[in-house]
């Protein structure tokens, strides 16, 4: 086992880039990925004993999505119940249900009310709930995030939308000092049950300032929880869980995933905020990913399966805190880890996850943890350049082959 942990990660990326042949690149499809999801059908109630354990406990709580195995969604789809919708509609459904359920929930953000939301997540809510519950704010992220936090201190449950996650940098002080820390510095007197959500990530040539990934900046703030949704099923579940949570939660959505279509259950359900999702159980290697990169990984997984590999794909979903339980069980099974993320290489979620895995599961690793992340550059405008800043399925395949030698 080579001790070249950091070197390994760097070399892996470098090799991946040098073998990267843009001509051979398959354009990653982003919308309507039933094809990607079909690979989930080769399931096993995999995961080992923990799945059954968690299932038996959670059946007592019908709302919690059982065992976070993505195939559960399939079950309802195959039995015919459930309805099909797009991811932004799933978010809207979750939001609407929570607003119906609890009069303290309100939404504030730019153009969320009369305009219906720049990504249509809050469409129709202003007509239904009125101007006092769905608030169009002026363009002042610092102030309206602060106002949401102040309102949360008194017991309201605001859902604050950043039109693009990058704009929340203007509210960083409020999120870090007031949102994250007030519960602690007041000795437990105030809770801040706020949800801060918005789309982030690299889109389609949106330019550098609108393609930011803020999970890396927020991850050190004590007191907040961060989750990233990736499918309509977990988007609705996480939205509901985030609103019900007493802690401040930052929900990271992705600009390119809003039009994903999936069938979700009719009955009410919530996803566990702190749990990772087993997308595809496997034996050879653990691939940890979240948000949009899940789809790149699943695409690479198809290629890998054809080549004879059996990757285990886990969508970590909970970016803070990490679900080290699910991840740990997977590492103990496969002994190899590849992290695929859209964050920057320096100080990103992958960097923290690498450190956490090395610290806790070093004895179980047969190879150094490899992390594929975006390049440390501002996202360029040109389409070809933008593709190269983000991890592509071909690089994932190369990395897996390298790790599994």
């Amino acid at each position: 086992m080579a001790a070249r942990i950091h070197g390994g990660a760097g070399a892996g990326a470098a090799t991946a880039l040098s073998t990267f042949n843009p001509k051979k690149l398959v354009a990653p499809s982003r919308t309507n990925l039933p094809a990607a999801r079909s690979s989930k059908r080769c399931i096993v109630a995999g995961g080992g004993s923990d799945a059954s354990k968690s299932l038996s406990v959670r059946h007592s709580q019908k709302l919690i999505a059982s065992a976070a195995v993505a195939t559960k969604a399939e079950t309802s789809a195959t039995t015919g119940t459930g309805h099909e919708l797009l991811l932004f509609e799933a978010l809207q459904e979750g939001l609407e249900e929570e607003m119906d359920r609890d009069p303290h929930v309100c939404v504030m953000g730019e153009d969320v009310g009369h305009y219906g939301g720049s990504y249509k997540v809050t469409k129709g809510l202003a007509d239904k709930f009125g101007d006092l519950r769905v608030l169009d704010t002026p363009i002042c992220e610092n102030a309206f995030t602060g106002m949401g936090i102040g309102a949360a201190m008194t017991g309201l449950r605001p859902v604050i939308e950043g039109m693009n996650m990058g704009f929340l940098l203007l509210a960083f002080n409020q999120i870090s000092n007031n949102c994250g820390m007030l519960h602690y510095t007041s000795g437990g007197q105030f809770t801040i049950p706020v949800v801060i959500r918005g789309p982030g990530g690299v889109g389609r040539q949106l330019g550098a300032e609108h393609s930011q990934r803020l999970e890396s900046y927020f991850q050190s703030i004590p007191g907040i929880q961060m989750v990233a949704c990736s499918t309509p099923y977990n988007a609705k579940g996480l939205m509901k869980a985030a609103i019900r949570s007493e802690n401040p939660v930052i929900l990271f959505e992705h600009v390119l995933l809003y039009n994903l279509k999936e069938k979700i259950p009719d009955e009410e359900y919530i996803c566990n905020l702190e749990e990772a999702e087993m997308v595809r159980p496997g034996e050879h290697i653990t691939i940890l990913t979240y948000s949009r990169m899940r789809y790149h990984v699943m695409q690479a997984a198809k290629t890998l399966v054809n080549k004879g590999y059996d990757p285990e794909v886990i969508d970590i979903r909970s970016l803070k805190p990490f679900d080290l339980y699910t991840i740990g069980n997977s590492v103990k099974k496969t002994h190899r880890v590849l992290i695929v993320e859209e964050c920057m290489r320096t100080g990103g979620i992958g960097a923290s996850l690498t450190a956490a895995i090395n610290e806790n599961f070093h004895d179980y690793l047969d190879a150094p943890v490899m992390c594929l992340s975006s390049q440390d550059v501002p996202t360029p405008y040109a389409g070809t350049l933008e593709e190269w800043t983000v991890v592509q399925p071909a690089q994932i395949v190369t990395a897996v082959e390298q790790l599994c030698q």
Partner: protein, 389 residues
């Protein structure tokens, strides 16, 4: 100054003052009308009248509480120099009239949020001396369990929302509290306090815009002590009329060293905010200490200036003169009251010194609130060695 005469005075002994008093001090609510020393200057509204309704009891309680606040701050000064209080300690002496006058005009349902100069406002909201000193010294019985410190005093049951270290960040929070008050249809207002230094923060104007747009019952109170740490207001602000800075929002300039003027202004502001939305109050006040304990306070202003203000405008002296001229107590009784206050403060300090430091396990409490009532498994399950990542 026209002072109305008392019609009657009862001989009931007042609250828990020592029985050493020969002459009783009136405690009934015999009304007194007091004229503020300076008129109010108004922007976009009609200023309130200069005659303030008060009572003998209120006058005496003003004196007592302000003397208590003054004594507490001086004691905090000595504790800091004795290295029992560390870090930042921002003292409020000289500005007590603002805290007292505001409390007299409002109820505990109205919210107050302020910046880091919060010891006296916490006391005014019903905090105890023991909690103050314990928190300042980082002990476990402090109001924030020793985890907040001087800049993070909070009292939820009296709607005191703290206690904030970052300059200006409390104003959007305050407008958010006002929003919640409007949302829940409570007939209450929020006083968001800030200083002349913070008045130049952009988020203030952002919050003011939203408050005016949505008709929120928020009152922005600028405690203008004329120095933003070491920078005088004329060097930091192009327009030093902070009460006019709201532009479309009405404002009132108040003599912040006169507790009755503050009381009148806050009463006026509360009525205004409940009907018409936000209003700005500028309290013209002064701090005797430097910005904080690490600032001597004399490098950017002369000692003559400080002692001049102390002689002419000191809020406690003003109340003292009123008490004496209304014949509510003798000099000796007031001195005895001050002695008793000194003892009260010393007792609280002694008790706080005996209080233990927080347990090491307190380091990890109150970071998150656990769960939402159902069984959810977090990452800290027993099999894995990792703690909070």
């Amino acid at each position: 100054m026209a002072l109305s005469r008392l019609s009657s005075r009862s001989n009931i002994i007042s609250r828990p003052l020592s029985a050493a008093f020969r002459r009783s001090i009136s405690t009934d609510t015999t009304p007194i009308t007091i004229e503020t020393s300076l008129p109010f200057t108004a922007h976009l509204c009609d200023p309130p009248s200069r005659s303030v309704e008060s009572s003998t009891q209120e006058l005496l309680s003003f004196f007592r509480t302000m003397a208590l606040m003054r004594r507490m701050e001086i004691a905090a000064d000595s504790l800091y120099k004795a290295k029992l209080i560390r870090g930042f300690c921002h003292l409020y002496d000289g500005q007590e009239a603002v805290a007292i006058g505001m409390e007299a005009a409002i109820t505990k349902k109205d919210a107050i949020i302020t910046a880091y100069r919060d010891h006296c406002i916490f006391l005014g909201r019903g905090g105890s001396l023991y909690e103050v000193f314990a928190e300042l010294m980082g002990r476990q019985d402090g109001c924030s369990r020793g985890k907040g410190g001087s800049m993070h005093f909070y009292k939820k049951d009296s709607s005191f929302y703290g206690g904030h270290g970052i300059v200006g960040a409390q104003v959007p929070l305050g407008c958010g509290i006002a929003f919640a008050q409007k949302y829940s249809k409570e007939e209450a207002v929020t006083f968001a306090m800030y200083g002349d230094g913070a008045a130049n923060q952009g988020q203030l104007f952002e919050a003011l815009n939203i408050s005016a747009l949505w008709d929120l019952p928020s009152i922005l109170v600028c405690e203008n002590n004329h120095y933003g740490m070491g920078t005088a207001e004329w060097r930091a602000a192009k327009s030093p009329s902070y009460y006019k800075r709201g532009d479309y929002v009405p404002g009132l300039k108040v003599d912040g060293m006169d507790a009755f003027a503050v009381k009148q202004a806050c009463k006026f502001a509360k009525e205004h905010a409940l009907k018409n939305g936000p209003i700005i109050l500028e309290m013209d006040t002064y701090r005797y200490h430097g910005h904080s304990m690490s600032d001597p306070g004399s490098t950017y202003r002369t000692r003559d200036e400080i002692s001049g203000v102390r002689q002419e405008r000191d809020p406690i002296e003003r109340i003292k003169k009123l008490v004496l001229s209304h014949d509510l107590a003798t000099e000796k009784e007031l001195k005895d009251m001050e002695k008793e206050i000194r003892k009260e403060v010393d007792d609280a300090i002694a008790k706080a010194k005996d209080c233990p430091m927080p347990e090491p396990s307190e380091l990890f409490t109150n970071v998150y609130v656990k769960g939402f009532g159902t069984e959810s498994f977090g990452a800290d399950r027993k099999e894995v060695k990792a703690a909070l990542p």
